[in-house]
Symmetry: C2
């Protein structure tokens, strides 16, 4: 075994600082965080996710360390024969551990959960600048069929 | 007044057949529906959406007729200062009423709801073949920053 076993599981409250560190450990998203974000904001957001049966915040844990994260949102719909679709957001692997296949393992775990739940579709959007990510998802069978459009609301 | 007033509201159970008709009234999505879909499947899906405080199935009603629909999903997140993002799916205007500005009115209504709720971001994906839709959303301020990728799960 070249790799120690990795556990994928729903996040717990005490994982929040490690998850936020992973989310910030990224050139494209770092600008979304501000110095005045408080830990209480994140804990409140965690509780909202954790109480929602259609939102799973997931971590990958290796030897006690949080090395990856993603979020699955199950969206109920009248479309596609009234099945839920699974949407995956905020996928991160710790930057020093990338290109080891961990992202693929984590995504495969998430897709299995969506299958178990009866979803017919898994969807995600990925920043157009992340060309490596597009190739990665395409290898897993994802098709770039849609434009992902965002409207920022000024605060 | 050239147009009668339009009411935007959360859908009720009795609106389901009209909503499904709108979803099917579309060249791109019609292939997603099958002849053996039963009304009970749709009613069950409606109930799942209706019971979920983070999912709003919306209709546009004019003179007692359902002329448009969309679904808003509020996704709680640790990203973007722990705010919810609003995702809009399944946007339809009755085909004989398009290009009258109803879609814009309906989207503006939905964006207002997202603002009221404190969302910092409204997002949607739209099929790459719907070039008219891309222009429509771009005019409203949406930016095509992301690839929308989908993985179909065979049944």
């Amino acid at each position: 075994m070249s790799q120690p076993p990795i556990v994928f599981r729903r996040a717990r409250r005490e994982d929040v600082p490690a998850i936020v560190a992973l989310l910030e450990d990224d050139a494209i998203t770092v600008s979304r965080y501000r110095a005045d974000d408080s830990p209480a904001d994140y804990e409140q957001a965690f509780d909202a996710i954790d109480r929602d049966p259609r939102n799973w915040l997931v971590v990958a844990e290796e030897a006690g360390a949080i090395i990856g994260t993603l979020q699955i949102t199950y969206i109920p719909s009248l479309s596609r024969r009234a099945s839920e679709r699974a949407q995956i957001e905020s996928v991160r692997i710790r930057s020093d551990l990338r290109s080891r296949g961990l992202g693929r393992q984590m995504m495969e775990w998430a897709i299995e959960r969506a299958k178990e739940r009866g979803c017919r579709l898994v969807q995600l959007t990925t920043d157009k600048r992340r060309t490596d990510a597009h190739r990665f998802y395409a290898k897993m069978g994802f098709e770039s069929t849609h434009e992902g459009m965002k409207l920022r609301i000024p605060t």
